[in-house]
Symmetry: C2
Subunit: 462 residues, 2 copies
């Protein structure tokens, strides 16, 4: 059992600083935990012992009857040490310290003080200066962020609180499912490595996404990354890449961004995938949590528009995805599925006259042929075809064929294409509004696959 189990899966939670006042963080915390459907016991704690949202409150954690697994602390900085001392005496082993006013404002002494109490009692602490922790399997939204999060299989670890909260909204808007949202804050005790180690064994998490400005202990992070990336893809968004960016990071989280080249090399060596903006990071994670990894290097493009086929080919070539030159037997099969002015090479251009059947039959061919390792399916809106119907035919074909290779889609056009892509996403076929984003996701999956394959080869040889 990991010592973080009680942080992620507590049977009982105390909210210290719980408030009746809807403008207070201590109110948001209780409200979000309740709204999220958390099923354990919940104990508000505040100096008045005033009930919060119908829950009986206590004036101290020490007065709570029975065990408490986790304390979430949101009281002014000056009271935090005393609260933690109480938690220690109560036997609470996990803490989330929301309160700010520590190292991030230069108050290193106070941060050291609370850490020493944490150590004395053998507790683990997330924070201080965090917005909290969301974990889907526990249905626990112990954050003062947004009340609704779209559950799924991406764990998101963030050193930026504002970004983390904003991303909770993003998950709803773009239907991107997360297993966990973790605010790292000052990282006095728990740091990214701890979280990575824990999430590597977490069944709900199929890919990990980290926003980081600077590592506390680079070597440890690298070791944890190496352990995680063997099991699941880890995507890192490391900012402070430029001199001015690094200086902004230093004023923001006090992080020493360090030489970007060193980080870059460390990420590569440890098999982590580096993304350059968060849309890209989530694009990648979406594919990796919805689809199996590529079966081999041969990628096939199916399209109804020549121009987007050309653009997609460019993007593939530039990012290391191999457009497989189709052998004659497959060319003649595809030829049967298109008008005379179609193109049966790769990209396979079914032309603007491609209806549902052309797509489903082409996909069937592609699914069945073991020489094809991954598939990109493109659709450009036309006046005569229905994007939603085509999306449905793609879904049906995919489900009836029990496809074991990754399929990514891009539907280009208006409202109906948007609707079609939503349907694809819902049925685990990741869709992107431009083909280049689909390619970028696929290329990153290939990079991860090649890394793990290389390691397997090495260990087989030795």
């Amino acid at each position: 059992m990991s010592d973080l189990d009680k942080l992620f899966c507590p049977k009982s939670v105390a909210i210290v600083g719980a408030s009746k006042n809807p403008k207070k963080i201590g109110y948001e915390l209780v409200s979000n935990i309740l709204a999220g459907g958390y099923e354990g016991k919940l104990f508000p704690v505040n100096p008045e012992g005033a009930d919060v949202m119908g829950l009986k409150s206590f004036t101290s954690v020490k007065l709570i009857p029975g065990d408490v697994d986790l304390a979430v602390i949101a009281v002014p900085a000056v009271y935090v040490a005393d609260v933690i001392e109480d938690c220690g005496q109560k036997g609470i082993k996990s803490l989330i310290v929301i309160s700010s006013g520590f190292k991030e404002v230069g108050n290193t002494e106070l941060e050291d003080k609370i850490l020493s109490i944490v150590r004395k009692y053998g507790m683990r602490m997330l924070g201080p200066n965090v917005f909290g922790l969301y974990y889907a399997p526990s249905r626990m939204n112990a954050t003062f962020g947004l009340s609704r999060v779209f559950p799924g299989n991406i764990a998101f670890i963030t050193q930026s609180g504002a970004l983390g909260i904003a991303m909770m909204g993003w998950t709803n808007l773009y239907h991107i499912g997360v297993s966990a949202v973790i605010s790292m804050g000052n990282k006095a005790d728990i740091e990214e490595s701890d979280m990575l180690d824990y999430l590597t064994g977490d069944e709900m998490t199929k890919a990990v996404l980290i926003y980081i400005e600077g590592a506390k202990d680079g070597r440890r992070l690298m070791a944890s990354l190496k352990g995680s990336t063997l099991k699941k893809p880890v995507i890192i968004l490391k900012s402070g890449r430029t001199e001015k960016g690094a200086s902004a990071a230093a004023s923001h989280t006090g992080s020493l961004a360090g030489s970007d080249k060193v980080y870059d090399a460390a990420f590569k060596q440890s098999g982590a995938l580096r993304a350059y903006d968060f849309a890209q990071a989530f694009d990648w994670a979406k594919l990796m949590t919805l689809q199996p990894p590529p079966q081999n290097e041969n990628c096939l493009i199916i399209t109804n528009g020549g121009g987007v086929g050309v653009m997609t080919t460019d993007a593939c070539e530039e990012s290391g995805v191999t457009i497989w030159p189709l052998p004659d037997d497959l060319q003649s099969e595809f030829k049967k599925l298109m008008p005379v002015f179609g193109n049966f090479k790769n990209p396979v251009d079914l032309t603007g006259q491609a209806y549902e059947e052309s797509y489903s039959k082409s996909l069937e061919l592609a699914f069945k042929d073991p020489r094809i390792g991954s598939i990109i399916v493109l659709y450009c809106q036309t006046a005569i075809t229905d994007p939603v119907a085509i999306a449905k035919s793609i879904i049906d074909t995919c489900e009836s064929q029990h496809c074991d290779k990754p399929l990514v889609a891009s539907f280009i056009g208006g409202q109906q294409c948007d609707e079609a892509m939503r349907k694809l996403d819902e049925r685990a076929i990741p869709a992107y509004p431009i083909p280049e984003r689909a390619v970028s996701a696929l290329a990153s999956y290939y990079r991860w696959k090649r890394y793990t394959d290389r390691l397997e080869e090495k260990s087989a040889q030795s």
Copy 2:
């Protein structure tokens, strides 16, 4: 008067091949022209003389009473030469040839034949093998693409028909306004250069966006680009960058993609801005059609989240946008507008506690100070602030200050952020779902501005 005036602003249009059958292109054409609100005269032409959508029809263009400015031809390839001959005899000077079955399928002879008739009568022809032409000032949607297009100030010229039609949908979905959508097809007569020359003088068009796989006459294109880019930004999406992409382009439009390096150098020399995907191209054009160019090199970032401030700084530095180190006087002004843990350097971090007033007062400072040349405003969703209210305060400040420098925005979060961004877009403040896209647009505007400034300097010296 340009010889393309009658193509863009015809007082009367004949649709040859107009049909009653909703499955035919000849029906779509009439239906789209009517739906678009075209106010000139419209004459369907078909062998039966059958009325189409209540319009009196003719069996030949020669039988139409009075002048006809433009003929749109959608009959099988074998009849096209005869129709064009009739048009020539009727005195029609502009043609859009929708019909396919020419050079794109190897039928060069037939294409040469129709071109010779076009030349004989001194006509101008768009096509063959095009989906048509949309021009907002004429309210003329002479295409078989989508019936609705979002009007605005971007002219879109495309060698890919499927992409063009899909983009008509895209304009509606993302509220991106276009002045023209032009399908280039086989470019037997009219090519991109002709369109550029025309659009350079077009008041409605504030930026031109071209998708091209290969130029027919590279030198002429370069000359036209040089002329246009002096007046307005021209964005080029040139595919076939890679070997396999070029080979796909050759099977698609028969274009010899040519050495990408040569194209790249030619675009740079002629001041054209090269984009790498169409989302990027439209992102850039959106900023350029909504906001004035940068006033000087100093860019200011205003944010409520440190992390996105760092990421945005990285993106600026990497793309040549200068994050201006704020002088002391401005630092102390900004300091007054934020809590003690805010950051009054650049990026100015108003913190997650920034409400409407913090944004409007910071923007006022930024607008008024002539040392600042461009502004990026960022918002991360929080549980306590309202993105839509903040968007409104930004709009109000912008409008009351009559801002002469470009402002770009990025609101990161859920549904409400999406709504806030839509409001910003509607009031001509371009908003993007991630800061990196805002920065990319601003950086491209800077590149264009520097190019025109250099040319002005040169001509002043000589």
